[in-house]
Amino acid sequence: MLSLYTFILLIFGLAVVLDAKSSSGNSVLVILDPARRPDYSIFFDGLQEKGYDLTFRAPKDETPVLIQDDIPSFAHVVFFESDTKHFAKDITPQTLVELLSGKTNLLIALSQKQNLLTSFAPEFSLILPPPGSSLLSYFPERKENNSVVPIEVPSSSNIISAGTAPVWFSGVPFVLGNNPLIFPILNAPAESFAADAEGITPDALADAAEKGGEGLWAGSQLAVAAGFQTLGNARVAWLGGVELFSNEFAKKEISKGVKSGNQQAAADIAAWTFQESLVLRIDSTTHHLVNTSVPKEHYTINDVVEYIAQISRFNPNKGKWEPYSGINDLQLEFTMLDPHIRTALPPVPGSPGKYAVTLRVPDRHGVFKFVINHKRKGWTYLQSSTTVPVVPPRHDGYPRFLSAAWPYYAGAISTSLGFFVFSALYLAGDARETNLRKAKGAKAQ
């Protein structure tokens, strides 16, 4: 009976594993008031269908904790409860940073009210408008409130799938600082601006603009959803408003008979945040002398070396890593303090996932590194470093016969040969000398 039970457990376990769709784990903690949970059921059901394991926690609940014994308890954390002023005591900016260092991904929705998230956001180079303001737009003319803004999905986006219908948005826009780790996922429309919904007058807006560089939040440089990827490859998605994920907006028509793209956009943003899409990894790197296959512990200056990297991309549909040859701007550096060589590391046609380049080792000896440091916005950063010492040739590593020294070799060989011939003749010769001397002696007498 016990064995049957174990068997069922095993089958169940296998099913869970097969369902896995994220490359970094399926446990998700959603911080949300239970009463508001049905408002986002389309989004949550979508996640559960994909195989995510959702745990809900009201913002003031003490459990389940975010970090247990210094180890993050969940692979992903979703902050939908952004209107709350006070959170449970383990939800602090410090814990959130610790979560990111522990490679936990965060999906954070901001609100107009000030709380820990609005003070946390500037750490990610998000510049928020004054509290109480939200994104407004009179364009296009529509029945909805001015603060419910339709936003087109940029066609160049690699996070939200192409062909997604415009999405409804309501919430806070933000300006992105020039930190390269952050990038916009959805930009506000050019005609929109951030203001307190009441009391907008042209003079008030003009006054705001004159206040300084950050006086007026307006135009398409504003973002309403932004992605931030830490150097440790943890991902944070910042959303200007949680309504983007709501059932209300998902069902709302963007125009007669056309459903809004909210459901798709929400799923795509979550897929990026939860390490499903645009996830890469370096499987292996190796190097060897050209025409050999065994890596050397060190190389001699001027050696011709081949460097090979194997790269995979996560396929969320199959839940598997697959060789990926689609990176066309990968670069390899050979560095000692500074790069001595920086060259393209192109994919090898015919072998999926393999990138290779042949280079001549510089004529400087020292401790070098093969470095791959590939960072592109939205994609996992690829980083690899392999240390190899480069040494000058050994005493017997030089050519033995230089043309300039031919006379010296000739002289040495000639002398050796002469010695050998002399020895042979001396040993083989008859004792003629004594005879000669005798003959001489006889003459003298």
């Binding site: 296009p140 930190n179 003009a206 056309v258 060589i341 060259t343 070799y409 010695f419 008859d430 003629r432």
Partner: protein, 278 residues
């Protein structure tokens, strides 16, 4: 464009009063008040691009009126948008509107407003957004492209120091030291030949000038092994130069040395006997 159509459909769904601009006009003047260009803005056709120098002032005036009644309207949002299509940089300048709907905007290039985005040589596309109304009547928002504007290029924005690592970096090639120069091989060969030939010509000449030397024991079993061991030593030294390591040389040398001591004793004893013993 495909994506835009749902938004346009959406726009068509609502009926509201329509706004229009009355006597829109721009003037380019220098600091001392000299007008270099002054034209009414046609909403149907964009004027030829405007060029502003460092000292010019662009004056823009118009009145926002209700199209049907002709009364002045004060909307909530009157924005000028400066957009650089090449770099994607954008600046929004809110305009002040009198309650009669009159708008007057001066762009003084000697003191450009903060809303002007950083520019290069590409022109800025200037458009006007008018939306909302302070009165109870609702108006359709109005959006129009006014003109292209060339202004002096600004200083480029300093990028974040890490920004470069997010793009393709310039390739670096190592400059190798040039190969050491060697004299022509022909000269080396001539001198090598000379080094070999000179002593041997003298030696062989002397050799042949002598009466023939008898070599009775060249192949004698007591002498030949010693001659060969001496030859083997020479060969070992040659191999040492070409490929062998010191350890190998000492090893082979020790073996060969033992053999040579033995063959040497035998050979020298034979010579001694021949010379003295007889």
């Amino acid at each position: 464009m495909k994506l835009l159509s749902p938004l346009l459909l959406l726009a068509a769904a609502v009926n509201a009063s329509i706004l229009t601009l009355q006597s829109p006009k721009f003037t380019i003047a220098t600091k001392d008040g000299q007008q270099s260009r002054s034209e009414p803005i046609s909403l149907a056709q964009k004027p030829s691009p405007l060029h502003l120098s460092q000292t010019d002032i662009l004056k823009l005036t118009f009145q926002i009126v209700d199209k049907s009644s002709g009364n002045g309207v004060q909307p909530r949002q009157v924005f000028l948008r400066f957009y650089d299509e090449e770099s994607g940089e954008e600046g929004i300048q809110p305009l002040r509107v009198a309650s009669t709907g009159k708008v007057k905007f001066d762009l003084d290039m000697s003191k450009p407003p903060l809303s002007i985005p950083p520019t290069s040589t590409a022109p800025l596309e200037v458009s006007l957004f008018i939306g909302g109304s302070t009165t109870s009547t609702s108006y359709s928002p109005l959006k129009m492209d006014l003109f292209s504007l060339h202004i002096p290029a600004s200083h480029p924005v300093p990028p974040h120091p890490d920004e470069a690592s997010f793009h393709l970096l310039p390739e670096i090639e190592h400059t190798f030291r040039p190969d050491p120069k060697l004299p022509p091989t022909f000269i080396s060969a001539v001198f090598a030949g000379a080094v070999i030939a000179a002593p041997w010509i003298v030696l062989l000449g002397l050799w042949f000038s002598l009466p023939s030397l008898p070599l009775p024991s060249l192949a004698s079993p007591s002498i030949l092994p010693f001659t060969l061991s001496i030859g083997a030593f020479e060969f070992l030294l040659y191999k040492y130069w070409v490929e062998l390591k010191l350890g190998d040389v000492l090893f082979y040398g020790a073996i060969l040395g033992g053999v040579t001591v033995f063959t040497g004793r035998t050979a020298l004893r034979a010579v001694e006997q021949r010379r003295v013993g007889k």
